[in-house]
Subunit: 189 residues, 2 copies
DNA sequence: CCCCTTAGATAGATTTGCCTATCTTACTCT
DNA sequence: AGAGTAAGATAGGCAAATCTATCTAAGGGG
């Protein structure tokens, strides 16, 4: 260790290493020692910041969430907006969903509650993104606003999340189109 | 231990105890020793049947699946059939879904595959049940058969499963009705 | 009664991981 | 230069869990 890291740079390195461990070995096999080795640090450095293993896991997840915000597409058509966003989620969020469900299920079983400091990876920042999409669609006259319940707005993303949580893999592109064309769009028009 | 169990009775007792441990302490905290205590047995008895912890977990899940088959409702209306089935699933399957997702996510992260001997708790026996429901609805003229894609048929159950996997709790009854009345039924008519 | 199978009991080997205590030293600031 | 902070290094305590080896004896069958 020729150069010591400090402050935010060190913390980022620690959290990135923790995230790597979560994705390579999974939540169940996640160990402090592996993070120590991967980050080139020592145990007290981690324990000075996070009181235990689970706290580090959650911090790593939250860190990764913060680093991977999704852009809001604006294609001029609702179908393309929703498909573009779903494709982006599909391409980038499977691992996050897998890591999170493993942790959340275990946490829930241990405590009977959900950790308050984590929000769903497909939810974070999504409400605003989707609302923007729908506002534009309403202005373009593409949808009937009366059909835009919260549940219907979130439907494509719920179904995508469902795919992730039942297969741990991205959905096929034709599945995305099927969700949008045969379920979602008929409901909003 | 005044009376020794043998054969199927012993195996049922072992698997019931394993399931109890899964629901009380969760998958992550599941230990062979706790099952031994709960079942009033000894470690070699378990290892004579299941080669390791994970195999016992899967056997316990499969055993519980087999023991909890759902009846097919026949109310005379599609809405009531689907709602009745969803309510039954809602009342009885949350724990199963929670235990399974914890195990499946961990297994997937460790191996990159899904275990081949487990099927989804809401899938098992569901395809036939749902097809029967839909056959009757078609005969009654309640639905347009052209709208009955596989994805739409499974939609209410997918959304219910999604509820389970994101909250680890049963859905509110009004949510079930919302799913059926504002999403599912408009799509099949 | 005898033989065989295996349930239940128990001890043990081994490993692993979590977390803490302590020390040296790099680095920043005054 | 000196003081203070904390990064990096290392050793250690401890517990827990997994799984195996071995033994006794219950129970079934001939």
């Amino acid at each position: 260790m020729t150069e010591r890291r400090r402050g935010a740079a060190l913390e980022k390195a620690l959290l990135d290493a923790a995230w790597e461990e979560l994705t390579v070995h999974g939540y169940a096999k996640f160990t402090i020692d592996a993070v120590v080795k991967r980050a080139g640090t020592s145990p007290p450095v981690l324990y000075r910041r996070w009181s235990d293993r689970d706290e580090l896991v959650r911090a790593a997840i939250a860190h990764t969430l913060k680093e991977s915000r999704l852009d809001i597409p604006d294609t001029g058509s609702l179908r393309e907006d929703v498909l573009t966003l779903m494709r982006e989620i599909n391409a980038t969020r499977v691992q996050l969903a897998t890591v999170m469900i493993a942790h959340l299920a275990a946490y829930y079983q241990a405590t009977g509650t959900r950790p308050s400091d984590l929000t769903d990876p497909l939810t974070t920042g999504r409400k605003e993104a989707v609302d923007t999409l729908f506002d534009r669609a309403v202005e373009r006259g593409e949808v009937n606003p009366e059909h835009l319940t919260e549940r219907i707005k979130s439907l494509p993303f719920d179904l995508l999340r469902h795919e992730f949580l039942t297969t741990f893999a991205p959905a096929a592109d034709h599945a995305l189109e099927e969700i949008v064309d045969t379920i979602f769009l008929p409901l909003v028009r």
